[in-house]
Symmetry: C2
Subunit: 358 residues, 2 copies
């Protein structure tokens, strides 16, 4: 039987609760499909800060690098909010992405028929939304140098960052995006601000260059402000979206909220080779941590992405996805997606119901 | 009687049609309130490119600077889309903002009871939305140096921009925001990405500093990705939002689309002193230009903002706002806001109906 090592990073807040459910689901699906997992659980984020004084201990990064895939819960909490930058939980996550070189962040936003009423958008607008945001994750203004604080030529205090993209960074994310679009509806929309920013003009130029290799994919370009509008006006117009780190941060979150069920949404972060990083798109929700109220399905679906994109284990992935749908069809809902007529369950019970459906 | 000089910049696409309507409405309201206007009409954007070879001729900028207020239609069109950066219509607009030093962009997003169904959001979510986005307009990544194209230390081609804010730039937009919030519901939400960007950390630090002078305003901070979500989830939670140039570009457009009636939304761009710049938030809509289909109300309401914020002529401003509401109440709609049971009119006829209500 095939064997893989998985690094589990439960993180903070509701992280441990949702990771525990996802691990059980992974295990059962694996057993059925003849896969064997070895797990190593490591600290990251706020809990790593408390334990070791840094948000990403060396041991965590090297364990992650040596494993076949990494499953993360969530990081952050009020407790560490005022920390200096290098001691923020978020910095641990950014270092993890950088360390694993996972430059391609895949964020599906799907409105399931069972949950269409959870969207704040009208039924006819939300129904059938099925888009994928592909966000560049290890470049741009998040990592660009120079950055920091200083003074300008008039002696005024300033804070500054650099938005910068090199050709290879754009080319590789473009290829992931075109390949992904090709497997979906064949439509790719590249989002930039090429009417103002040189970094975006260069982005668009490279996208057009790579597009020559994908004549079968229908490419369009959209300015980021317009994209923010179009996601609200008519999200169904989108199939695959590719964009830079900061625009992707904003637009993927907007797209996820349009589904109304961010407790359901997984993500995958992939590099050229080496382990991928899989995590729910929701945060650590410190206000409900430890109360068995969290929706574990985003993490369960992240585990499915881990199987599919991280290990190429499509069957096990499909088994988990089907189990989630079946559980929803049987009426089980955590509080974030509850509506009258459905059965309200906690995090653990939701996990048990999914296991029954695997 | 009071006399003012207004620079009219009709611009491209539907710009001339909507400016013509707004001018008539301005004139009538002015006459009734004992105000006299002198107009000077100047080229900007694509039409300036065609006429003079540059998107913002010297004459246009100096006329604008010497007038009491500037009313702009819209700029841009397919024809100039592939132009080099310094020959883009957009560059004319950016130079105009820079030249007039209008650092504070006020963008109200209001869901009128008459138009609540135009929103793609559910009635209960859209109803009663009344927020104001205050966007910093002459700084940040739009204008930051260094910018351009080059090569990095590995000889790779790059494109880059600089996000930079000096203390005085943040302080002055903060004051506008606190003053505005004070006149509204007293709630100000500052949007940044202070968990990642130094420019945002510095932004937040200065906002907190200026906040000491406004203890009566309830200040909160939100990350930009979360703000993009919250605008979809529950836009009513917001009163006044203040943010940087690029985040403001994205969020104000998202907020406007949430109202469902971007053909209705005005904006004001103000400096410390000197003339303000007033323009509808919609674009030049080249696809419907010259067809008498445009909604002139955003420009009419921009004229009202011109009277209120630009000239301090509150009575004339209120007269125009009331006339717009009355026209909607009498059932007149351009095609963008039409719904069954209302009276479909073109741009000109809408203008005539507003005149009857002034
Ligand atoms: C926590 C934060 C640093 C992170 C980001 O901005 O990338 C988060 O918002 C995300 O999108 O994963
Ligand atoms: C046309 C463009 C340069 C402009 C901007 O990005 O500021 C527009 O989107 C706006 O918001 O007024």
């Amino acid at each position: 039987s095939k064997r893989y090592t998985i690094t589990l990073l439960p993180g903070d807040g509701i992280g441990p609760e949702v990771i525990s459910v996802a691990k059980n689901v992974l295990n059962l699906a694996a057993t059925i499909e003849g896969i064997e997992f070895k797990y190593q659980e490591m600290p990251v984020g706020g809990n790593a800060l408390d334990l070791t004084g840094v948000p990403l201990p060396e041991e965590t990064l090297s364990a992650a690098k040596q494993s076949d895939a990494v499953l993360l819960g969530a990081i952050g909490g009020y407790k560490w909010d005022k920390n200096e930058k290098h001691l923020k939980p978020e910095t641990g996550l950014l270092k993890l992405r950088e360390g694993l070189k996972v430059f391609a962040n895949l964020r599906p936003a799907v409105v399931l028929p069972q949950l269409v009423d959870a969207s704040t958008l009208k039924r006819e607008v939300a129904e059938g939304v099925d888009l994928m945001v592909i966000r560049e994750l290890t470049g741009g203004i998040y990592f660009g140098q120079p950055r920091g604080f200083g003074t300008n030529e008039n002696g005024e205090e300033i804070g500054f960052n650099t938005e910068v993209y090199a050709a290879y960074e754009i080319d590789r994310i473009a290829r992931v995006a075109f390949e992904t679009a090709r497997k979906r509806q064949g439509k790719l929309c590249s989002v930039d601000k090429a009417n103002v920013l040189e970094a975006s003009m260069f982005w668009r130029k490279r996208i057009l260059e790579i597009a020559l290799d994908y004549p079968d994919v229908e490419l369009s370009h959209m300015y980021v402000d317009n994209a923010a509008m179009q996601l609200v006006r008519n999200p169904k117009q989108f199939d695959t979206i590719v964009t830079n780190n900061i625009f992707g941060d904003i637009l993927s979150d907007e797209a996820s909220m349009i589904t109304g069920s961010i407790g359901m949404l997984p993500s995958a972060s992939l590099g050229e080779s080496g382990p991928g990083l899989f995590e729910p798109i929701h945060g650590s929700a410190p206000d409900i941590a430890g109360q068995d109220k969290a929706n574990p399905l985003a993490t369960v679906l992240s585990a499915a992405m881990l199987l599919k994109y991280g290990l190429g284990e499509e069957n096990a992935a499909k088994r988990i996805e089907a189990a989630v749908l079946d559980t929803l069809n049987r009426g089980f809902r955590t509080v974030d997606i509850y509506s009258s007529g459905t059965k309200l369950v906690g995090c653990k019970e939701m996990g048990e119901e999914v296991l029954k459906s695997v």
